[in-house]
Amino acid sequence: MAEIERETETPAAEEKIAVATQWQLMWWRFRKHRLAMIGTVLLLFFYVIVIGADFLAYVDPNESEAQRSLMAPQPIHWMDQGRFAPYVHPLKGIRDPKTFKRVYKPDLETKVPLKIIGHGYRYKFLGFIPSDLHLLSVEGAKPEETLFLLGTDLQGRDLWSRLMYGTQTSMTIGLVSVALSLFLGILLGGVSGFYGGGIDTVIQRIIEILRSIPTIPLWMGLAAALPGSWSVTQVYFAITIIISLVGWTELARVVRGRFISLRQEDFVMAAELLGCSQGRIIFRHMVPSFISHIIAATTLAIPAMIISETSLSFLGLGLRPPAISWGVLLQDAQNIQALAISPWLLISSVPVIIAVLAFNFMGDGLRDAADPYL
């Protein structure tokens, strides 16, 4: 019997590390990356908005009223004579003596109490649970006439509510594109890297050709080819497919690179020599080794998708009204004159920047933590 090693006491902490899976090790490393943690928290916050967009909005986003056009944001007053009693000022319609137009100004004498979690317009939570609860509502008045947290746009639609729904769309369209790219990327990248040879050459050349096509003209062309009669949803999905058509190439290259480097690893050769089937080698040995890298690469690909959708819609080639997304909201900001008078129209650029930064920070943290064994 070979001599069993004399072991000094194993402290509990060491034991914990010894049996830690790669995900635990990754998490421990990820936790140390402060920016990444901040990014993750921000993203969680965003996705809460995505799920609860209906709840967070207080007015139907498509409810328009020309006379309420381009209203400035009205603040919430939190304290009423020393007590916590939030209220807003309603708007009063006054006829401007000079232009004879009806303008709306806040009525500073009247106070409309604000209710945190109250009733409002009806909607279906998650698409099937009917409800009418909203985060904010007013008592004794109509929210569309009193609440203007972020002002209104040219058509008099409340921007806060529109922003909630816009977030919902923009944050999910990126996910759908990425999922599609992921599938294509892993499939084609994997085949390319694992088999090599002729197939590899062909796929790589296709990738190079796709990547060398300038994206905006490509998208413009494809988007212009979409029939104008398509419904909002159909356009939505068509756009996601278009964006992922080029997006998969990045992931395919990463996957291919990993396959090629993994093929040379000793433990893969050891598995072959044990008699492992090719399937087992791929799924049991190789895939777990690069899956963390894929997650990191994917996370870093999402912001590109978000920006793609936002830019396409901004140019009028992506989603169009009545669909609501950050890009659609920014379309209104194209009018310089309107923008000069009502700068709050640019508000939807803020979540774009925050979301993209948050994804990048999180992706950076994931990528640094991705190979905990290095």
Partner: protein, 341 residues
């Protein structure tokens, strides 16, 4: 008369050097009180296994330690040609003084010649850069000196080789080129950190031969760091044995190999496969393995694996280097307080 006095003074004196790495998970005491001397014209061999701190010692001497590592104590005294002494630990790590010492007074040869050379510069570029950094030679003069340097290390066709890139040369030639760069400014001390570990045994013989030859020609001192006891036996005049950041034994090479006093040195020498040995006889081994740097044993670092472990003594305090022979010292409680076994 004066020459003799100068020769017996050490060229480099390391005194109680401590380099710690401060990491989130804990502090790694990579070097924990190392001390030794390098004499002009002689070779000091530093031997130890992984985690013993020999490479960190080298980096500390040349002030190449980066965060989260730091020299926390000790002195490294270099005696310059004019007799002046400089404590390298007191110099600013990026300052002009240390940079004028690196290359000109102390040359360094690394283990991996492939990564020590820039892949986008020719050997000549790097050679002439070294020469011009430490002398007033112009480009043409430096180029000529570079060719001479390559010739001196036995590279055939140096005029052609000087314009080649490192990847165009074999491992042995690259290491020779590395030595040429290190010696280009005629340093008085050459530090070689595992210079032959990545080379084949016949190439290793060539390089060791070259180093000895150059030492004889130029009278320079060599500090040779390796885990290979055969190389130490071949090259060193004096030996320092390190374990877990401390010097456990030091002395003349013959004494270390034929009369080792520290249990670790003894066990190490017994456990190496010997080309003269009988075939298929089991080797004596040292039980267990080197402790994790975060889990240093209290007291003498070797006690968990020591066949002469004395409970109550070895696990309580750290031993200090005591004289066990003519210029030989060991850090072991067996020899402290006059207990000689």
């Amino acid at each position: 008369m004066r020459a003799t006095t100068m020769e017996t003074l050490p060229l480099l004196s390391v005194d109680n050097l401590k380099t710690y790495f401060f990491q989130d998970e804990g502090t790694v005491k990579a070097v924990d009180g190392a001390g030794f001397d390098v004499f002009p014209g002689k070779t000091l061999g530093i031997v130890g296994e992984s985690g013993c701190g020999k490479s960190v010692t080298t980096m500390s001497i040349l002030r190449l330690i980066e965060k989260p590592g730091r020299i926390v104590a000790g002195r490294v005294v270099l005696r310059l040609a004019n007799g002046k002494e400089v404590d390298l630990t007191s110099l600013h790590p990026d300052g002009e003084e240390i940079r004028s010492i690196r290359g000109a007074e102390i040359g360094l040869v690394f283990q991996e010649p492939m990564t020590s050379f820039s892949p986008v510069h020719t050997i000549g570029d790097q050679l002439t850069e070294a020469i011009r950094l430490h002398s007033k030679a112009n480009k043409r003069e430096a180029h000529a000196l570079g060719i001479e340097a390559l010739r001196n290390v036995g590279i055939p066709n140096p005029e052609r080789r000087i314009d080649q890139y490192s990847f165009q040369m074999s491992g042995g030639l690259r290491q020779r080129a590395m030595i040429a760069v290190a010696l280009s400014c005629n340093p008085r001390l050459l530090i070689a950190d595992e210079p032959t570990t990545a080379l084949d045994v016949t190439t290793q013989a060539q390089i060791l031969d070259l180093m000895r030859d150059l030492q004889n020609k130029k009278g320079m001192a060599i500090m040779l760091i390796t885990h290979n006891l055969g190389v130490i036996a071949e090259m060193a005049d004096d030996v320092v044995v390190m374990y877990l950041g401390r010097v456990v034994e030091k002395g003349p090479v013959d004494a270390i190999f034929h009369n080792p006093k520290h249990p670790y040195t003894r066990a190490l020498l017994d456990s190496i496969p010997n080309i003269n040995a009988q075939t298929r006889v089991k080797l004596p081994t040292i039980t267990g393995s080197i402790p994790h740097p975060y889990a240093r044993p209290r007291g003498c670092p070797f006690y968990p694996r020591c066949p002469r472990f004395m409970p109550g003594t070895c696990d309580k305090e750290e031993p200090v280097l005591t004289s066990v022979g003519d210029r030989q010292e060991a850090s072991c409680f067996l020899y402290q307080e006059g207990r000689d076994r």
